[in-house]
Symmetry: C2
Subunit: 148 residues, 2 copies
DNA sequence: TGATATTGGTTGCATTTGTAACTATCAATT
DNA sequence: AATTGATAGTTACAAATGCAACCAATATCA
């Protein structure tokens, strides 16, 4: 057992993860904010629609583990700025299918390119084994937390 | 170069980091919130004081990369609940040295024990090599972001 | 059919946060 | 000493967030 005095915040995984998350997001965040006036949840919504096709708000909530109020507001904001449109189902009018507009798709394309660039810069510091382990560990942590 | 269609959010490092950070923090967060009514910044301040000895607010800001207003409010809250005290310098009264009270130290001791337990649970899923690489990669990402 | 529960989504309110402007103290320059 | 410029820390206001209550549409089942 590690002694209390030896317990360093620099070794505490949640702390490291939080700081790394902040650090790694900063530049990219600045980009989509400056360029499209988007916030993180909005970018995530755009990403899900661009990558996985038209979805309902609920599906985005589930896939991305984002609370429905956050998604609701993000969708409203994106709709107002004409990045997406809603289309209610005929058979169940509670659902609304969200689709990116042309502008939304263009933003998605651009942001994906930018994201890839960021990812390559970040990952560039690591070799293949490290990248692989890093991704696998993170994935595992995410999935472990999912149940709770 | 990866194609745009292949670019999966599940491989985008900032996204993985953010989700892993959230997932890994949740349980611990609940603990210090329920037990001491603390928020994350407050816990971090307590931790820094407990681990590294008395510091000024500024020093905590620098070490932990937290904005001074956040630290200021956390310190005020902790002082009110008597987890710490302030003591202005004689030679420069702009600085205030922060020290944990007995209650603050007790909370720190308890939280460190709890943090260790959480860390072991999280890390328990990985072998020594993986742990090492994980920590090193995270450290690197944090330090790389630091300059910007 | 009608009463109740569930589900997708929104809204209102209290709390948290970020930004910028502010106070107070000290340092440097004249 | 007086002016200017940093620096530590606080505060005020706007924006973002979380939570709970809410509405409308559907499902369930007496």
């Amino acid at each position: 057992m590690t002694e209390k005095r030896d317990f360093d915040l620099q070794h505490f995984l949640p702390y490291l993860l939080n700081r790394a998350a902040e650090a790694s997001s900063l530049d990219f965040q600045r980009y989509y904010k400056a360029r499209y006036g988007m916030q993180r949840t909005e970018w995530r919504v755009v990403f899900h629609l661009g990558r996985y096709g038209d979805l309902t708000a609920k599906e985005i909530c589930t896939r991305a583990s984002i609370h429905k109020t956050k998604v609701s507001r993000a969708v409203a904001a994106l709709e107002k700025r004409r990045f997406l449109t809603r289309q209610p189902f005929q058979d169940d009018r509670r659902h609304e299918l969200l689709s990116l507009t042309k502008a939304g798709k263009a933003a998605f394309d651009d942001l994906v390119k930018e994201a890839q660039r960021f990812d390559e810069t970040l990952m560039g510091a690591f070799n293949v084994t490290e990248r692989d382990i890093l991704r696998r560990c993170l994935r595992h942590i995410i999935d472990a937390g999912q149940g709770a």
